[in-house]
Each structure stands twice: as structure tokens, then as C-alpha cells.
Subunit: 430 residues, 2 copies
């Protein structure tokens, strides 16, 4: 791409950046936690329609995707779980097609009093926008859209199909992106601007979610000795899981992309609920656990190991031996994925194209990073043989309080994405 076109494209992003930030604030004002994504999706869909994209909004059906590779089990149904895709169709189709993907769902905000300002009333301070989901990953979603807008502003459009995807369910299963595949949205590459500080994600771990449910025998506390306290009983199970985490992170259990990392596979007791009255021996306790696995580590075998660990701990207790805890999979059964191992000409080309775009914007070499989380990139990468680039802005405290995204980083990423689209898809006159 000639220098003049590059400059015009970067300028076009700059010119619209205030508008882009305002739209990000609007979108971040929708509290799109799991089950409540609809208003944010409607906001995006009407924007896509106004821009002239063929816009497809549909409710995910579990039965449509339950047998596809990469599916994760779901508790509850998907009533109101709506994906949105805006499609650009090329007149020439001379170039390579592209998925621009991001997720609309955000994790819960937690107790409001731990935020400096309301999590769904985004504010800007010191060059950052603050709010739940601004980094993870509404800034990336909006960057995808405004990269396309910048092309149009200078009279061009991609010379191949581009699918702008706003999906649900990234934060717990990935079934939103899977449903896009089932709906027929395939392309030659995918770009997902998750907030990893303008680095290209070279590898991501897999993630398993499970619940451990202990049932006790409730009695009045006055006869506590004769009952069975389900909260107490959960504590050695948690301890056993911590031991498993240690074993899985031992130097003998490593992975080439994570050899530099002291503790790649994090176990997280993310939620616990048990009992309902201080003076009743609690009859139930449920813990929600997240465990990382290496790329290539077999999910079924990992689950079996987790179960064996929990049952061995349960067997230490006379009551739990006869009343084993239930282990319920209710979210991610997600394999790891290494872009760096995706040995294919298209992958190399996609990476090189992004490297050029990143350099043109920042003057710096694109760094790669192996991350200890998962992203939807595993679907194109593992199951559709499609290179999937995860590259997005710098954000802080994602999943925490006072989540924030650096706006200048958002600007640079938007420019890089615009250049990447031009380079990967080629351009045609709009």
C-alpha cells in the first residue's frame, strides 16, 4: 500500500476518533452481562444497519451447535442470547475474506462500592476510559467498526467479504463465536482485538470451568455433631485442587510456549455459595472453579484428573465417601491454541500483514505474547483451519474494579486494523 494511502487512512481514523470514543462510551453504558446483552446488541445492530451493512441478528440455539467441535456445556438456555453480524460484500472479490470479531458480553461488575465511579457510566480520566467491559472488549469491537469506517471515509472498501461479528458468550463458553461458524460465517482469517496491549497473542491456554457441589446433612447447630456441614466439607476439596494446580505448574509439566512463565495454569475459586442461616448447619455448598490447561492438553483427560483429585480427597472423609460431591461442567471446556504453531502460508501472511500495519502505526516491531487466558481465537484456529489474530489495545483491571482502556492505544489499534484490512483484503473503490 502506498504511503499516501496509508497516511490518508490513519488520518481518517484520527478524524473520527472523538466520534469513536463517544460511541464506545455509549456501548459501554449498556450493562451487557450474561443474559443482558440485548440492548447493547441492538445498539450495534442499528449502527451497522445505518452504515449499510447487511445485518443478521439471531438467537443461538444450543441444538444447532451442541455437536460441533469446541462446544462448551451450558447451564440454562440461550433465550435472548443474540449474536449480531454485519456483512460487507465485495463487488470484485479479488482479495482475502476476513472475520472481524469481538464479544459484547462483560463479566459482572461485583460490589459497586469497590468502584470509584459506576461501572456502566463510563468516564474518561488521564487518557483512559473507565467502566466494566471498556477494555474487555468493547474498545476492540468499536475499533473493528471504525477501522471499516475509515476505509469508507477515503472512498474505499475491502475487496473481499468482511464479517463484523459481535458475539455473546465469550466470557463463559465461546458458544457465541461457534454459532457464527454454524451460521456460515467463514473467512480466510479472523482478527479479534482482545486487550493484550498491542501484542499479537502467539499462544493461549485452555480453560475448564466446573462446579463442585457438596450436599451435607442439615440440623440445628445445637446438635452440630450429628449433622454434616457442607461448607466445612468443601474446604479439603479446595485444598486438594490447590495441590493439583501445583502439580500442573511443576517444572516437569511444562509447554514450549510457556516455559518462560512461572505459573501459566491458574486455578481460581471464583465463586462460593453455601448455607442460608448462621444457626443452621449448611446442607449445601457450591464452588465455581476455573482451571487452565496447556495447548495440546486433552480436555477429557484433564477433567478425569480433576475428578480423580476431588474424589480422592472426598474419600478421606467418612461421610463424603458415601455422599460424593457432584462435579458439574457448566461453561468452558476450551482447548488451548497456538497461533505460532499454525504452520500454514495463510497464517504467515496474516501475521506479516499485521506486523506491517503495526509498524506503520507505531514504528515498532510487533511483539508476540503467550497468554494465560483463552479467547475465541481457538475456534477458527483449531476447528476451521483459519488463522486467528488476537491483537487489541492496552487495558487494565479487566475483570476487576475500575477497569480501564488506554484511549491512545485504542486509536493506534484502530489504525493498525484499518491498515491490516487494506493489506489482507485488498481495496476496491466504494
Amino acid at each position: 500500500m502506498d504511503n499516501d494511502l496509508t497516511k490518508r487512512l490513519l488520518d481518517a481514523v484520527d478524524k473520527r476518533f472523538d466520534e469513536q470514543v463517544a460511541f464506545l462510551a455509549e456501548l459501554a453504558g449498556h450493562p451487557s452481562t450474561r443474559g443482558f446483552e440485548q440492548s447493547a446488541q441492538r445498539c450495534l445492530a442499528s449502527q451497522l444497519e445505518a452504515l449499510g451493512y447487511a445485518t443478521d441478528s439471531w438467537e443461538i440455539k444450543v441444538s444447532d451447535i451442541a455437536n460441533l467441535p469446541g462446544f462448551s456445556p451450558v447451564i440454562g438456555d440461550y433465550a435472548n442470547a443474540v449474536n449480531v453480524v454485519g456483512s460487507h460484500r465485495s463487488q470484485t472479490n479479488r482479495g482475502r475474506s476476513l472475520i472481524l470479531n469481538g464479544h459484547i458480553d462483560v463479566v459482572p461488575a461485583g460490589p459497586l462500592d469497590m468502584w470509584d465511579s459506576p461501572p456502566f457510566e463510563p468516564r474518561i480520566e488521564g487518557g483512559c476510559m473507565y467502566g466494566r467491559g471498556v477494555g474487555d472488549m468493547k474498545a476492540g469491537l468499536v475499533a473493528n467498526l471504525y477501522a471499516l469506517n475509515a476505509l469508507k471515509a477515503i472512498g474505499y472498501q475491502p475487496a473481499a467479504a468482511v464479517y463484523f461479528q459481535s458475539v455473546v458468550e465469550e466470557e463463559c463458553t465461546g458458544n457465541g463465536m461457534l454459532a457464527c461458524f454454524q451460521r456460515g460465517y467463514l473467512a480466510d482469517a479472523a482478527l479479534i482485538p482482545e486487550p493484550f496491549a498491542e501484542q499479537l497473542v502467539s499462544a493461549q491456554v485452555g480453560v475448564i470451568w466446573f462446579q463442585v457441589r457438596v450436599q451435607g446433612r442439615p440440623v440445628h447447630v445445637l446438635e452440630a455433631g450429628s449433622g454434616f456441614n457442607a461448607i466445612d466439607a468443601s474446604l479439603p476439596l479446595i485444598a486438594a485442587l490447590k495441590e493439583l494446580e501445583k502439580r500442573w505448574n511443576a517444572p516437569t509439566h511444562t509447554h514450549p510456549h510457556y516455559a518462560h512463565h512461572a505459573h501459566p495454569l491458574n486455578l481460581n475459586i471464583g465463586k462460593i455459595e453455601g448455607g442460608d442461616w448462621a444457626s443452621s448447619v449448611p446442607a449445601w455448598c457450591c464452588i465455581d472453579v476455573r482451571m487452565g490447561v496447556y495447548p495440546g492438553q486433552d480436555i477429557e483427560a484433564a477433567c478425569a484428573e480433576i475428578e480423580a483429585c476431588l474424589f480422592a480427597a472426598a474419600d478421606q472423609d467418612a461421610y463424603l465417601r458415601k455422599n460424593r460431591p457432584a462435579i458439574v461442567y457448566n461453561g468452558f471446556l476450551a482447548e488451548g491454541y497456538c497461533l505460532a504453531d499454525h504452520d500454514k502460508a495463510a497464517t504467515r501472511l496474516a501475521i506479516a500483514t499485521l506486523e506491517n500495519a503495526h509498524f506503520a502505526v507505531t514504528g515498532k516491531k510487533l511483539q508476540q505474547a503467550a497468554i494465560t487466558a483463552t479467547t475465541d481465537a481457538r475456534f477458527p484456529g483449531l476447528y476451521w483451519d483459519t488463522p486467528a489474530l488476537v491483537y487489541g489495545p492496552a487495558a487494565d483491571a479487566i475483570h476487576g474494579f475500575n477497569e480501564r482502556v488506554e484511549l491512545e492505544s485504542v486509536r493506534r489499534v484502530t489504525q493498525s486494523i484499518a491498515l491490516f484490512i487494506a493489506g489482507w483484503c485488498g481495496l476496491e473503490k466504494a
Copy 2:
């Protein structure tokens, strides 16, 4: 009391026992958990009015009782926390006055699927009525009422004031009974038919409720090492409390009325809640704890010991040392009470009167028992210098699933209470 009158009184209870059981079932159909006692209280109040008692229903005001001895701290307000008292006034006032007390509040039912039948749809099987609160203590409440009914049925009434009390808040603070005192309902003795298997409670422990609230530092689990997991941090605090429980139950830390008991002071982790997302490092964890104390053990000193124990455990952790857990008292700060040590002529007479009544009904000597729970008897006993007899039917699984009360035991207790009223208050023609 002559044998003929005794026989007529027992017969009068028998004659109305089917009606009594039906009324118990009606009352037990009201799910009168904390905050939802109103419909059950209205049911009782209209029954009292129909029977001609001067009926007083009032909402507790915290400010009225907050400075009275025995008050326990309250989280939230007492909107809709309504006590009901039906007063019998004697024409002669020749006898001794009496409080017939019971509580209308019941503890939560827990998960419905752990019940064999719905907890608020009482059913009878094998001589027992099943349902939440049937034993603890609606059967006792109704026994008080039908004991009075039996007197009336044979043409008599107590020859002194009798206050039939249905109070809220017994299961968490006792502030309901305290509010009756503040309202002016005092008498020469109190009878509380809590379900302790037709034994007279000679001693009861004190109870302290507290919450331990840990705040963590939430981050995405991908950087779990940099965050601080509030659930993980709570586990050593629980372990420290268990050690405290051991020390308080050690042979060197005993009490004359509990010397025979292997473990009188039960610590119960009754409830735990923390986090909201498996893949977010949880920023908060709150545990609800109940701890027993001996009669005579100073509550303030016990609280100080609990706090010292928790802070010492917190100090073992670099983060918790700087971010100490909050300890919040949100319920019972209840002292223990020993009827057996209530060295007063009125107490001895009240016990003897109940012993006679019990023997006349059962042919057996009244057994005494030191219990490892608290009851509202501590208020009259400790603060109003009024003997308080706790004597009620046999029940099982109170605070558990499939709670039940033995109906023949309810019949006997009702008869004993009728005889006790006659003996204690004396009789006059109705």
C-alpha cells in the same frame, strides 16, 4: 387441683385436639421466615380476637429497645416485624400472672429438593406433622393457645393476667421478646414450649453471631498472581475459628451444667458467599458464623477473643495484615442462662408446678436438660428476674430438612401446660 378437674381439663384438650392439629397445619402453611411473618401473625391475631382476647399487634421499633439489656444488633430495619400479644385479664387477680410465649419466625427451608414434601405444605405421617417450623416452634405456640381454650371449655379462666405472646426475631436476635417487655408485658413467670422433648430446660448456652468479611483485589484470572482471592483468604480464618472452638471446648474450659457434655459450644460456619464469576479473582467473601458461649461467659470478652483470633490469623498473611477482615455483629449477642441457678422461691414453685402437671399427664418425673442452643427464656430469666420455663414437645430435624413434630407429644404438652396454668395462675369461673 382435684382429680376431677384435672381429668376434665385433660379431656378438654383431647376433645379439641383434632381442631388444634388442623390449626397448627394452617399456621405452618404460612412461610414465616424473617421478614415474612406478617400473614402468620395476622392468622394468630384474628384467632385471638375471635376468642375474645384483647389483642395487641405492633411493629417493633429498634430505637425503643436498643438500650435495653439483652438487645442484639440488627442489620436492616424492622419494617413489618410485628409482634402479637393476646391478653387475658382476670376478674379476681387472686393468682400469679403468666407469659405464654412462642416465636412465629422460622429459619429458611433451604433447597426444596432436599425435602420429601414442600416445607410449607404440612402433612401428617406416622404420627408426626412435617414442615418447616412445625416443631420450632409453631406446635408450642398453638399448644399455649389450646391449653387456654381447654380451661375455657370447662368453664374456667386463669385467676391472673396471662399474656399469650407470638413474637418475631427469636431465630436471630430475640429482639421480639425484648420488645414485649418494653411494651409492658411483665408477669410472675414465663413458659416457652420450645421443642425439647418434654424436658425442662435447666440451662442454655449463649450465642454470638458474626460475619467475617474479606475484601480481595480482583483481577482477571490470567494474572491471578497479582490479585488477591478473597475466598482463598477466608479459609485460614475459618481454620483459626475452628481452633478457637477447640480451645473453648477443652476440658479445662468447662461449666458445671455442661460438664457431662463432650462439646457444648458449637461453632457453625452457617453461610458463605463470595465472588461472582469463575474466571474473576473474587474480590469479596463473607462468612456467617454462630458461636456458643457458656452461661456467665462475658459476651464482650468473648467477642474480643474472637476478634483477636481472627486478626492473629489475618496477620499471618502479608495482604490481610494491611487489609484486615471486617468483623460485623449482625444478630445474637445472647448470654447464656441457667434456670437451675435461678435461686428464688418463685422459680422453685414454678418448677414444682410444672413437675406436678407433667407427672399428672405422663406419670413420669420431669427430666431436666442443659441445651446447647439459646431460647428467649434468657430475657425474663436474666433481665426481668422472672422464672422462665422452657418445656415443649418432641420434634426432630429442626433447622433441617423434613422437620417434624410428634403429635402425641404435642397433645401431652398441651395438657401439661393447661394444668400448669391452672396450678400457677389459679382458676376462676369464666
